[in-house]
């Protein structure tokens, strides 16, 4: 399985993607391009009817920020294909973590800014002014156009988000997951803005600021959630599933497989989640009286790698007893 063995193959570093993941990656890229195209239309449409509504401004900025995750994903998907080099012996997998972090910080900063801005509008009792607009020779209230545009753009991201969510699981891609999660919640932003404008329409000047507060809170919340995820990944926290819901099951599978091998007395591994693929260090204590050869070790390593496409970079260390130093919690049996 050397890199570049086939022109058709797609690699993440040294890892050659299986058929299913290759197909998933292709679909994910297509969906991200669709997202970018949709966002470009959305941003232009909303800009045209922006007016003086704070809620519309917040929704517009959220749409602008929504460009970041798809772009981060597409850039990272390119960078992580590079095989490891002398300068980067672990490969380029971490690119996706960096992209994730950058997107998270942008969300948090903009969300906080809008939160303060909208709160100030509410405190100083700013009455948003929305007048008429010329449309086909008639003068109508601009608010109607705002509501129309927001309702028009509310639904599509939900479907795109759902489709991406499925792919994120197969690819074990947290940026894609975060992006899908945001898309799924996007309709609420659009509806909140529409309700805010409708509120202005019936003379509730505060409705706009309140809607803007709701939208900015959701942006800031996305930022915090993503920041937490991105930082814990870059900090080499224990590998978790793509949605961070539970520890990744692969860890248990590797240890079970090692322990089931004839000459192994006891084995435990630690995993670094590199974004898509895992880097694994397995500590193996040979059964008493058995003396494994270098070939035995190499076979065991190859069998482990064959367990799942995500395992590629795996090292086996032969030890007389499991080192607490490298495997915290080994003596207490660990907690799950």
């Amino acid at each position: 399985m050397s890199p570049g063995s086939s022109t058709q193959a797609v690699h993440f570093g040294n890892t050659r993607l299986p058929e299913e993941q290759r197909e998933t990656l292709r679909k994910a890229k297509k969906l991200e391009w669709i997202t970018i195209a949709f966002l470009a239309v959305t941003v232009a449409l909303v800009y045209l009817v922006l007016g003086n509504s704070q809620a519309m401004k917040a929704a517009w900025i959220e749409d602008m920020l929504s460009f970041l995750p798809p772009i981060a994903f597409l850039v990272a998907a390119r960078v992580i294909r590079k095989p490891p080099t002398e300068q980067h012996p672990y490969g380029y997998h971490r690119a996706i973590g960096i992209a994730h972090l950058v997107a998270a910080v942008a969300l948090l900063v903009m969300g906080t800014y809008l939160l303060v801005d909208s709160a100030l509008g509410l405190i100083t009792a700013e009455h948003p002014t929305i007048g008429g607009v010329e449309l086909f020779g008639r003068t109508i209230w601009l608010g109607w156009l705002m509501i129309g545009v927001m309702l028009l753009i509310a639904a599509p991201p939900v479907f795109i988000g759902r489709a991406k969510m499925k792919l994120a699981e197969k690819l074990h891609d947290k940026v894609l997951y975060a992006d899908a999660d945001m898309n799924k919640a996007d309709w609420m932003t659009a509806v909140a803005a529409a309700v805010g404008v409708a509120g202005i329409g019936i003379g509730w000047w505060w409705a706009d600021s309140v809607a803007a507060l709701v939208i900015s809170a959701s942006i800031a919340n996305d930022g915090v959630k993503n920041l937490r995820g991105a930082v814990s990944d870059l900090m080499d926290a224990r590998a978790r599933t793509y949605d961070n819901a539970r520890p990744h099951p692969l860890l248990g599978r590797i240890d079970d497989f090692l322990n089931a091998t004839g000459w192994v007395g006891e084995a435990k591994s630690r995993i670094r989640d590199e974004g898509h693929v895992f880097h694994v260090e397995s500590f193996v204590v040979p059964r008493e009286g058995s003396t494994p050869t270098a070939e035995d070790l190499e076979h065991l390593r190859e069998d482990c790698v064959d367990l799942d496409w995500k395992i590629q970079d795996l090292v086996i260390v032969l030890v007389p007893e499991l080192p607490e130093e490298f495997l915290p919690g080994v003596e207490t049996g660990g907690e799950d």
Partner: protein, 156 residues
């Protein structure tokens, strides 16, 4: 789902949207339109001419009189500097301020503005989009004024 969330809000109030939080349009209809005027006359047009002892004259006072007539309102004129007039507008003492304002007016934090009702070129060849200033957030009044101004055939 989206429609469900907003539909009742729209259906209940569709007829009177937008509304004024402070009821300006209702107050001036058949009542008094309080207008702030500041002189603005130049090469590109006589927007507002002020003569002691006479009613304000020019393009904008004529438009305001027309609008007031359409709402059966009498106009009460108040003179002053832009600063004073915008301040009065913000505090609800005036309903409208005219004085040759362009759409790029720096007063937008303190006043709403109408759609441009006319475009001219200033002496530097820059396009000026002429607007009037209204109280912030009085959207029904603003829309009524916008509709009136857009319906006028104005030649620049």
């Amino acid at each position: 789902m989206v429609m469900l969330a907003v539909a009742p809000l729209l259906a209940g109030c569709g007829a009177s949207m937008p509304a004024d939080p402070n009821g300006t349009l209702q107050e001036i209809t058949g009542g008094t339109l309080q207008v702030g005027v500041t002189a603005a006359a130049g090469e590109e047009g006589d927007w507002v001419q002020l003569q002691p002892g006479a009613e304000p004259a020019g393009i904008e006072p004529d438009l305001v009189r027309g609008f007031a007539a359409s709402r059966e309102a009498t106009v009460e004129w108040t003179g002053g500097t832009e600063h004073e007039l915008v301040d009065d507008l913000e505090h609800g003492e005036l309903d409208l301020v005219i004085g040759g304002f362009g759409a790029d007016t720096p007063w937008t934090k303190h006043a709403g503005m109408t759609l441009p009702y006319m475009e001219t070129k200033d002496e530097r060849g820059k396009t000026v989009k002429h607007v009037m200033l209204t109280p912030l957030g009085e959207n029904a009044f603003l829309l009524a004024l916008d509709k009136y101004l857009q319906a006028q055939e104005l030649q620049s």
